[in-house]
């Protein structure tokens, strides 16, 4: 019984210490005197491996999700004779919810796991330790560019997802199902507000990008330096990021649209 209580307490304090270490990592990586000439090329390289390489999966899933929304929305709305509203439905659900959330989930699986594995292997092969030996702070050299690239990529990917999805929905409902294109776009435009809907969606995407890259980088740094340890950290990155995305999405939605 006593052992159980002790392990419970230890687990609690371990978790707290983990939060503390994660915050220190974020602080030490980001709150530094900026050196654009050094950090900019590093960020560009990470933007390539985090952002550009995620582009294909984001566009393809955005297109299909938009097309499915158009198809489903049409079949429901046509019963009420309001099939013109399908554009409004597709655009609002994509811009407010689906684009940030689905992009972030895919981003966690595609880029977050890769980040964790990369940093975990760097730690296991003692590359991080040797960087420190030659006087280079690995948090600034390795971690900071990855964090920045994550923050920049997520909103861009999310906007691409939303735009591609809406054109996918327009393709299905206007071109194939024959909704009148004038009403499709004008009902959408009268329903979607740039500041309330589009910008709030982008804010969501920025928050998710921050959370996903932060968790990925931290799990990489904390991984046990063995092949099993790296695989566990990678799994944890995907699981924790997905849970955090869905939980934060509720909180952000309540703050932005819910009047709670």
């Amino acid at each position: 019984m006593l052992d159980f209580l002790a392990s419970l307490g230890r687990g609690f304090f371990d978790t707290l210490a983990g939060f503390g270490r994660a915050t220190i990592v974020l602080y030490r990586a980001l709150v530094v005197w900026p050196q654009p000439s050094v950090s900019f090329p590093l960020i560009v390289k990470q933007l390539y491996s985090i952002g550009v390489k995620s582009l294909l999966i984001i566009t393809v899933s955005g297109l299909f999700i938009g097309m499915v929304l158009g198809l489903q929305g049409y079949t429901i709305l046509v019963d009420f004779g309001s099939e013109q509203s399908v554009g409004q439905m597709v655009a609002l659900s994509l811009v407010r919810e689906l684009a940030p959330v689905v992009t972030a989930l895919l981003f966690a699986g595609r880029a977050g796991s890769a980040l964790t594995a990369e940093i975990g292997l760097m730690k296991a092969t003692e590359q991080l330790a040797s960087l420190e030996m030659i006087g280079v702070d690995p948090l600034r050299r390795i971690v900071a560019p990855r964090l920045w690239a994550g923050f920049i990529s997520m909103p861009i990917l999310s906007m691409i997802f939303a735009a591609v999805g809406i054109y996918g929905g327009a393709l299905v409902s206007v071109e194939w199902l024959g909704v009148y294109s004038g009403s499709f776009w004008s009902v959408m435009q009268s329903a979607v507000d740039f500041y309330d809907d589009v910008l709030n969606g982008v804010i969501k995407a920025i928050v998710f990008g921050l959370v996903v890259t932060w968790i990925a980088v931290y799990q990489g740094l904390e991984s046990v330096p063995s092949s099993e340890g790296i695989s566990q950290s990678t799994t944890r990155t995907v699981v924790y990021s997905s849970l955090m995305i869905l939980a934060l999405d509720f909180v952000l939605t309540a703050l932005m649209f819910g009047d709670i």
Binding site: P41, V44, K45, L47, Y48, G51, V52, L55, F80, G81, S82, E83, Q84, S85, A91, V95, S153, P155, I156, L157, M159, I160, A162, A163, V164, I166, Y167, Y180, G182, S183, W185, S186, V187, M188, Q189, S190, A191, V192, D193, F194, D197, V198, V202
Partner: protein, 151 residues
């Protein structure tokens, strides 16, 4: 891969993001309206009953423009609706009438423009006098009940 190729691809990525943001601003949320040339006409309504900005203006069901502004006219106490009509639709006669209609059972309000017979056409700044207000369900029910009682 070469640094140069990576830089070009990252630049392309950023441009794609910018274009997507622009598409969301322009064609999805209609932030800056249409890119087409338009001219403005006005109409007075006794009751707009839920008409909003960016609603369609149609002739025979085909969109010819959008509602850009709605405000209360202080002297006459009626709603003044500003509409932007596409420039290529320059053959709407001056005695046209406007009506606020509902698309489908649950859909949004839009303006239906019925073209008249005069040779003179609507120009920038023209005001349409012949207007029919939105159908408000409560008023309709009220009238119906009133007639029932008086029978």
């Amino acid at each position: 891969m070469h640094t140069r190729t990576i830089e070009i691809l990252v630049g392309l990525f950023l441009v794609c993001g910018l274009l997507a943001g622009l598409a969301l601003a322009m064609s999805v949320s209609g932030l800056s309206g249409t890119s087409q040339d338009t001219y403005k006409i006005y109409a007075h309504f006794e009751n707009i009953g839920g008409l909003t900005k960016k609603a369609e203006v149609t002739v025979a069901g085909v969109q010819v423009g959008t509602v850009t502004n709605i405000q209360l006219e202080p002297e006459m106490l009626v709603a003044k609706v500003e509409m932007e009509i596409y420039s290529q639709v320059n053959y709407l006669s001056i005695d046209s009438s406007v009506q606020i209609l509902t698309s489908g059972l649950l859909g949004g309000k839009y303006i239906g423009l019925s073209v008249g017979a005069e040779d003179e056409v609507l120009e920038n700044g023209s005001v349409i006098e012949d207007s029919q207000s939105a159908l408000v369900l409560e008023e309709l029910i009220g009238k119906f009940l009133f007639n029932k009682v008086s029978e």
